[in-house]
């Protein structure tokens, strides 16, 4: 592990901070009594857990965009698919505690007068099967999509636009009630996970820690890819695809491998996100959402990995803060931030920090 982080000062700092956070937050929440200045509310824990899931998602975008030059405007789709796989598991855990009290069918299916559970829901009552699907479904979609796109050498802007078309098509599809994923309302009203109530503080803390561990592992695995030969070829592809091809590398395979891995990472992030916010709906597929997460990466600073994490935290924190304090200004601020960062901070906040550090 140490060899992975050699020369990665930012990564070292990030992992230390993450560890500190993962240890201190549970203590502040569970041990320090309410009313104390150091007490961290469960609401905050869940909020931080959500940010961690977003950070993992941002990481997956940075891997393909920063290191391979593929600007995916459809990564939200992989995130949402992972979320839906988790949501399906949680939905089946409700059992007969739903509004209609049907032990076999989730509420929305009873509402739509369905007789039995559709075939693609089978197996999702098993946690481990669902977890495999969390990785498999986004991975498979990315694999098929990537195999087609990279082999026919769709690049640059065109690739961005068809990834956008992909997530838009999925958005429309998941809005349909006939798809069997709850339509407009999505999946919600979850009760418990692996037998533990989702409402309890302990479960929330567990989910928070799980998110932190996933983010750390995600970071390390991305880092492992980046420093490997595969990663270096990817960077070469980003800088000059044709040359890499002429030298004799199978560009499409390199792209496909990293793109698929990135989609799996996004799916895992979605699966961590859903139990913490308690809902997954087609809105997660909206192209706007995907663009937004690209912006997290841009603001944090791409091609550093930890910059993506930083960006996800900063943008989402300011979103939470501003929409609470002055909802009118949020879009102004976000819009202005995009323009400002792309114009004056091409390397994001990390780039700014590095420049400051270099001068000092």
């Amino acid at each position: 592990m140490m060899s992975l982080l050699k020369g990665d000062r930012g990564g070292q700092i990030f992992l230390v901070l993450l560890t500190v956070l993962a240890v201190l937050i549970p203590i502040f929440n569970l041990i320090i009594p309410e009313g104390s200045a150091f007490h961290v509310s469960t609401y905050t824990v869940t909020l931080l857990g959500k940010y961690l899931a977003f950070a993992l998602l941002a990481l997956s975008v940075d891997l393909v965009w920063g290191y391979m030059g593929i600007l995916s405007l459809g990564h939200g789709a992989f995130f949402a698919l992972g979320g839906y796989a988790m949501g399906m598991y949680l939905m089946l855990q409700i059992g007969d505690r739903g509004v209609y009290g049907n032990p076999d069918l989730p509420d929305f299916m009873v509402f739509l007068n369905w007789e039995e559970i559709p075939w693609f829901w089978h197996g999702f009552d098993n946690f481990w099967f669902a977890m495999i699907m969390v990785a498999l479904v986004p991975g498979l979609l990315a694999f098929i999509f990537g195999a087609l796109a990279f082999r026919s050498r769709v690049t640059g802007v065109y690739l961005s636009i068809i990834t956008q078309a992909l997530t838009y098509a999925l958005l429309l599809a998941f809005f349909r009630n006939e798809m069997g994923f709850g339509g407009n309302n999505g999946l919600t009203d979850f009760k418990d996970i692996l037998g533990f109530s989702l409402q309890s503080d302990n479960t929330r803390i567990a989910l928070f820690i799980a998110s932190a561990i996933a983010l750390a592992l995600g970071y390390l695995s991305c880092r492992a890819i980046v420093v490997s030969r595969l990663g270096r070829v990817a960077v070469a592809i980003r800088d000059s695809e044709d040359r890499v091809r002429f030298i004799g590398y199978r560009v499409d395979r390199v792209k496909l491998a990293i793109f698929t891995f990135s989609a799996v990472l996004a799916g895992v992030a979605g699966a961590l996100y859903v139990p913490q916010v308690g809902i997954i709906n087609p809105g997660e597929f909206s192209p706007l959402r995907s663009i937004e997460l690209v912006v997290w990466v841009a603001i944090g600073g791409r091609t550093t990995l930890y910059g993506a994490v930083l960006g996800a935290f900063i943008v989402n924190y300011s979103k939470t803060y501003l929409t609470g304090v002055a909802p009118e200004t949020w879009l102004f601020a976000l819009g202005a931030l995009f323009v400002f960062v792309t114009l004056y901070l091409p390397n994001g906040i990390v780039g700014l920090l590095k420049r400051k550090g270099g001068k000092a």
Binding site: L71, F145, L148, A149, R151, S152, R153, V154, T155, G156, V157, Y158, S160, I161, I162, Q164, A165, L166, Y168, A169, L172, A173, F175, R176, P287, L288, I291, V294, V295, A298, E328, W330, L331, F332, L334, G335, A336, L337, F338, V339, V341, T342, L343, P346
Partner: protein
């Protein structure tokens, strides 16, 4: 004949019941069993023919009587009063019946004068129906409305139609005949046949003849029936189809085969017109797509700028239309005409501003422009939300945009769709001429093909950039004017078009105006052809999947750029 059976004739018989005794109804429904009858016609016509000789002398007297009868509370008596009015053939009758239908017929509580009222601030301004005298304004409390129920409304509509048959205006006569379609009976037909002798207008004649033929399908005479089937061989009226459907199982083999053949022919024609209709719908949807995308074809296609704020420039155009309508609320049609150049200027100047302030610094970095313009789109959206409201605004449609061009009973082209197609083609032609025939267009092409060479030739590239971007943005504004007539105008309306626009441009081939036009129409028509069996949403998904797969096969779209420019 059971009582229950009576109701199966529909409203025709049903609303007769209070006017006539039960026995009368039975008799009448007996001779028009297969038709839905318009009872007032029968009565009024029987009376018309029988009493015409001494009608002249008693007309004014019976007109007055009928008016008095109209003030009674009983709907039966009101029904009789309407018959009586129709028989008088008095020219004052039609406005009375129309006013009654619109619940604008009153009588004064004091003098019991029957009046037609017009809404006024202090009640109603009144005109007496008997002598057309202006009675000034009276408050609502001093008036009694002559109420109508649903049965009377049917009687009123049909009476107005009969009266319109004697109108000197051929269009009115035509629509009157159309009103009678499927509602006539033997007596009505007799009346129409009598009218046919004096009818000069060919369109009205044809319509009446069709009506008579449809009626002949019920004739007991086999020869008449066969002749009617023959004349209706190409007729597309739904009534004809209904009648033929019942005849195709006829016991008589000759009639059965004849009507089956006719039906087959009619079905074939209907199928054809349905396809024409689908193409028309597809063209109009395609026009919307082309309008939304054509500005992007300039900014994205020619300049290579991924302008995510394109949808918001469309929105600005729509809001410009809204504002101009607010300024001149009494001239909706004119405001629309003014809105076109105004929207071009508003969106165009915002476009130039965006280019000068932001995009200028980002040339050669297409993915960064995507992010920056996305930021701009958020700012524009929020600005509109703060200035106007987060809610949708209502933009009115001028009257000449509503209605339809009826080509035949199976095919009616709505005017708003027709206008949008023509408007789209006009905008395209305008843009095409600018690019191909003006010196600005020449500079635009030169800069997009080889920037440094163009500059060496003395073209001020950065100025051309700003103007090109302004042109594309202005066209987006014009598209907004058109879209304001079709969809909701709200702060997030631009979002609905941005993805479609990109799809159209990419599918058509970046940097190719013709490609955008053809791709927009192709996608529109494909969408509409898939909708009947796939549903609107699934059709759209299929189109998106198709584009994704198509890009794999032809990564540069339908009509790619050729030569060196394609490499960059």
């Amino acid at each position: 004949m059971s009582h229950g059976h009576l109701f199966s004739f529909g409203r025709g018989v049903f609303f007769l019941a209070p006017i006539f005794s039960n026995q009368d109804v039975l008799v009448m429904s007996f001779f028009s069993m297969k038709n839905r009858i318009l009872p007032f016609l029968i009565i009024s016509l029987i009376l018309l023919f029988s009493s015409s000789s001494f009608a002249e002398t008693t007309n004014s007297e019976s007109f007055k009587q009928a008016l008095e009868l109209l003030q009674s509370k009983s709907y039966n008596k009101k029904g009789k009063a309407i018959e009586q009015l129709v028989i008088t053939k008095d020219e004052r009758v039609q406005p009375i019946l129309e006013a009654m239908l619109k619940a604008r017929l009153f009588y004064t509580k004091e003098d019991k004068i029957t009046v037609i009222g017009k809404k006024h601030d202090d009640g109603f301004s009144l005109v007496s129906v008997l002598d057309q005298k202006d009675l000034g304004v009276l408050s609502k409390s001093k008036l009694k409305k002559i109420k109508v129920n649903n049965k009377l409304r049917g009687v009123l509509r049909a009476s107005i139609a009969t009266l319109s048959l004697s109108s000197p205006d051929a269009d009115k006569r035509l629509s009157a005949v159309k009103q009678m379609l499927g509602k006539t009976n033997d007596t009505g037909i007799a009346f129409l046949k009598a009218h046919l002798k004096s009818e000069k207008d060919t369109a009205v004649r044809e319509k009446i003849e069709t009506l008579i033929s449809i009626n002949d399908l019920n004739s007991s005479d086999k020869a008449v029936k066969l002749a009617a089937i023959k004349t209706l061989f190409n007729d597309l009226n739904p009534e004809t189809r209904n009648q033929l459907e019942t005849l195709k199982d006829s016991d008589d083999a000759e009639i059965a085969t004849a009507s089956q053949n006719a039906l087959k022919n009619i079905q074939k024609k209907l199928g054809f017109y349905e396809k024409v209709n689908t193409v028309f719908f597809g063209l109009s949807l395609g026009s919307v797509l082309v309008l939304a995308a054509i500005g992007l074809a300039i900014t994205f296609g020619v300049m290579g700028v991924i302008n995510m704020a394109h949808g918001e420039l469309i929105m600005l155009g729509a809001y410009t239309t809204y504002v101009i309508q607010q300024i001149m609320p009494n001239h909706i049609g004119l405001s629309l005409v003014i809105a076109v150049p105004a929207a071009f200027i508003v969106s165009g100047s915002v476009g130039v501003l965006i280019e000068r302030l932001v995009i200028r610094h980002l040339y050669g970095r297409p993915l960064e422009t995507l992010l920056a313009t996305f930021g701009i789109s958020l700012i524009l959206q929020q600005a509109i939300r703060s200035i106007f409201s987060p809610l949708n605004r209502a933009v009115e449609t001028p009257s000449w945009m509503s209605g339809a061009l009826e080509i035949n009973p199976a095919l009616a082209l709505t005017y708003n769709r027709l206008y949008i197609i023509f408007f789209c083609l006009a905008v395209f032609a305008f843009l095409y001429l600018i690019i191909k025939r003006t010196s600005l267009g020449l500079s635009v092409q030169a800069v997009s093909q080889n920037r440094s060479m163009a500059r060496a030739m003395g073209i001020r590239a950065s100025r051309v950039d700003a103007l090109t971007f302004g042109l594309g943005s202005g066209i987006a504004g014009i598209a907004g004017v058109a879209l304001s007539q079709l969809t909701n105008v709200g702060p997030s309306m631009g979002q609905d078009y941005i993805i479609d626009s990109f799809m159209v441009v990419v599918f058509g081939g970046v940097g190719n105006l013709w490609g955008t036009l053809i791709s927009g129409f192709t996608l529109g028509i494909a969408n509409k052809f898939m909708e009947p069996w796939a549903g609107a949403v699934l059709a759209k998904i299929l189109v998106l999947v198709f584009i994704i797969l198509f890009i794999q096969k032809r990564p540069r779209g339908l009509f790619p750029k050729k030569g060196r420019a394609a490499e960059s």
